[in-house]
Amino acid sequence: MLQRHKGLLPWLLLGPGLAWLVLFFLVPLYYMGRVSLFEGSDLEGFEFTWHFQTYLDAFDAYQTQFGRSLLYAGAATAIAFAIGYPLAYVIALRGGRWRNTLLLLVILPFFTTYLVRTLAWETILDDRSVVVDTLKALGLVADDGRVLATTGAVIAGLTYNFLPFMILPLYAAIERIDRAMLEAAYDLYASRRQVFLRVTLPLSMPGVVAGVLLTFIPAAGDFVNAELLGSPQQTMIGNVIQSRYLEVTDYPTAAALSFMLMGLILVMIAIWARIAGTESLMGAEAK
């Protein structure tokens, strides 16, 4: 009896998660894969024909947007890391009694929806806004220039929207570091720089990996920022998928593009995990 329970219990615990994964991930994934191999149109009807050509055509036609998505997401991730790490570091190690308040401030923007926040930026940055006038007066924007509908605005929007995804895992990782490790390093005459590079940073790597993934993946697939803060010259692959699916009702191409985006991200994650996960590499950098 006890034996049987032991065998069943892990499955019972796994059950809900597994069912969720199968229903809402594997089944749609299978169907999307099937749709990507369809041929036809919605008026003439679609047919499943193993039409792999769609992938080649789609990649050919939308290389620019793929490149742009990876570039923008990469830039947003790098900026979010540059802003997020010091912030997470200070909150975790020097936050003191303000720690919870500061964390709350980081999460606070989440209380309004993502779309509304991005729309707010559209208004803040419009051509005749105070912000843009000030930037012009300071010489940061050319007199006939603009901020909205530029690459900068899209990357800034992505950074702003996904920043908390970077900060929270970094905070969790840095906060978990055993202070005794830092003290030991100082006892062994390490400089502050050495302590950071050889102890704090390597120990916070799990947070860095998680933060980068959580920022990069949604940013690469995003279409809202490019739609609202960009011009047609900033369209990302998410916009293409959206327009193929809903505007042209070209489901096979939309599905094929989604698959390629997923594949591309998986490959990049694999590479990143190899680099970031190898401690010797970090150690070598620290020297």
């Binding site: 229903l23 809402f24 089944v27 749609p28 169907y31 999307m32 099937r34 749709v35 369809f38 036809g40 149109s41 919605d42 008026l43 003439e44 009807g45 679609f46 047919e47 499943f48 036609a61 947007q65 208004t123 419009d126 051509d127 005749r128 603009r146 909205l148 509908a149 011009s231 047609p232 010259q233 369209t235 916009n239 293409v240 959206q242 327009s243 193929r244 699916y245 809903l246 505007e247 042209v248 009702t249 070209d250 489901y251």
Partner: protein
């Protein structure tokens, strides 16, 4: 049995067969379909089909007026001042109209309803409103019901002549116009500096990054074609593709700031855009916010479109929906709607009716265009499925997505 009964019998047999076929397919698909519907990715819905399926669609049967009607329309597309058109309908027939502003974009709405319409279910909708070409698509896919013309005497009497026989529905059996409008240029007088002369002013390098065009392909491509001296009502796809090429060049050079739906109004009000391809009905509302906004009807011509009421197959209150279609074709009712939405009304006699309540608006050339203006307006010609795909595809790429 007389002729009428035989027809009725055939119709019910056909519809029952349709129903059984769908039910049969439904049972096997049910367990999976419900999951997939939840994922929003039911490929069973998009596979198969093809050809014009409207031939099998029976005429709406006469019946009882129901006490509810579900009407799906675009935002801000009906009068809101009490007593509204919907109040008046309720007063006359005792039917409560549940009015939903759920159509923001033709293709988006199509994407939303395609799966359920394909199963012969309307999702509770009795009436929806979509633009000509989408109305044509809905008809060809067999998604909308055939109207009983004998139940539509007001439509018969008052539908304006120019809209009586469109290419996609020559007998007006599947779609009745709700409102029409022009697609033309809407601009900021204060920011353009001088009068506009041509459609092609939108390509003037002076306005780089300060113009927007519509995501609605037929409107944008049609206007650019007119600027090129082509005729969007008749020409082959060749000049349309040339126009798309021209749009693509302008987009790549940074001339066009955005491609928009209704939201170009925001760009104009903020001054981020100085001129936009836009819709005539918006202009009157925009002028109220900013008197510097004006409509420019280009001398080369401009586009005329209509939005149509249709009754989806499976509508629970089809007979009442048909009654409603006829109800809004009374000039006094149409005047109430026109006074609020400011689009071109398809109902003859509305101008006279509106003159009694709002004489100033009754003079507006945007609601009641002159015969000369109507002569310069073009309806984008009917495209075959193949042509539609070719042009939509090229146009989407030109817009950068």
């Amino acid at each position: 049995m007389n002729q009428r009964d035989i027809e009725r019998w055939i119709e019910t047999e056909i519809s029952r067969r349709r129903l059984l076929r769908q039910a049969g397919a439904g049972v096997t698909a049910l367990s999976f379909a419900s999951f997939l519907a939840a994922c929003g990715d039911d490929d069973g819905g998009i596979e198969g089909g093809g050809g014009d399926q409207s031939a099998d669609i029976p005429v709406i049967e006469k019946g009882e007026i129901s006490d509810q009607l579900n009407f799906s329309n675009w935002p801000l597309y009906i009068d809101k001042d009490s007593p509204t058109t919907l109040d008046k309908f309720e007063r006359e027939y005792g039917t409560k109209v549940k009015y939903t502003e759920e159509v923001n974009d033709n293709v988006e709405f199509f994407g939303k309803v395609r799966q359920i319409y394909d199963r012969g279910d309307s999702g509770g909708r009795d009436l929806h409103v979509v633009t000509d070409w989408m109305a044509s698509k809905m008809k060809q896919l067999g998604y909308v019901q055939r109207l009983d013309k004998s139940e539509l005497p007001n439509v018969e009497a008052n539908l304006i002549a120019s809209l009586k026989s469109p290419g996609f529905d020559p007998e007006r059996e599947f779609a009745i116009p709700w409102q029409s409008g022009f697609a033309a240029i809407i601009y900021r007088k204060d920011l353009v500096g001088g009068a506009l002369k041509s459609v092609n002013d939108i390509f003037d390098a002076k306005f780089e990054g300060k113009v927007t065009m519509l995501t609605e392909m037929r409107d944008t491509v049609g206007l650019v074609m007119l600027g090129d001296g082509a005729n969007p009502a008749e020409d082959s796809t060749e000049p349309a593709l040339e126009a798309i090429e021209k749009i693509e060049q302008a987009q790549k050079s940074g001339q066009i700031r955005r491609f928009t739906g209704n939201d170009y109004t925001r760009d104009l009000l903020k001054g981020d855009a100085v001129m936009s391809f836009g819709w005539s009905g918006d202009a009157i509302a925009l002028q109220a916010d900013n008197p510097n906004i004006d409509v420019f009807l280009p001398p080369e011509g401009f586009m005329l479109w209509s939005d149509n009421m249709q009754i989806p197959v499976g509508a629970p209150n089809a007979y009442t929906a048909q009654k409603f279609m006829d109800f809004v074709y009374q000039p006094e009712i149409a005047a109430g709607i026109a006074a609020y939405v400011n689009y071109i009304t398809p109902v003859e006699g509305t101008q006279e009716a509106l003159a009694k309540t709002d004489p100033e608006l009754a003079e507006s050339p945007l609601i009641f265009p002159s015969p000369e203006d109507l002569e310069r307006s073009y309806i984008f010609r009917e495209l075959s499925a193949e042509e539609d795909r070719e042009l939509s595809d090229a146009f989407q790429r030109a817009t950068g997505a």
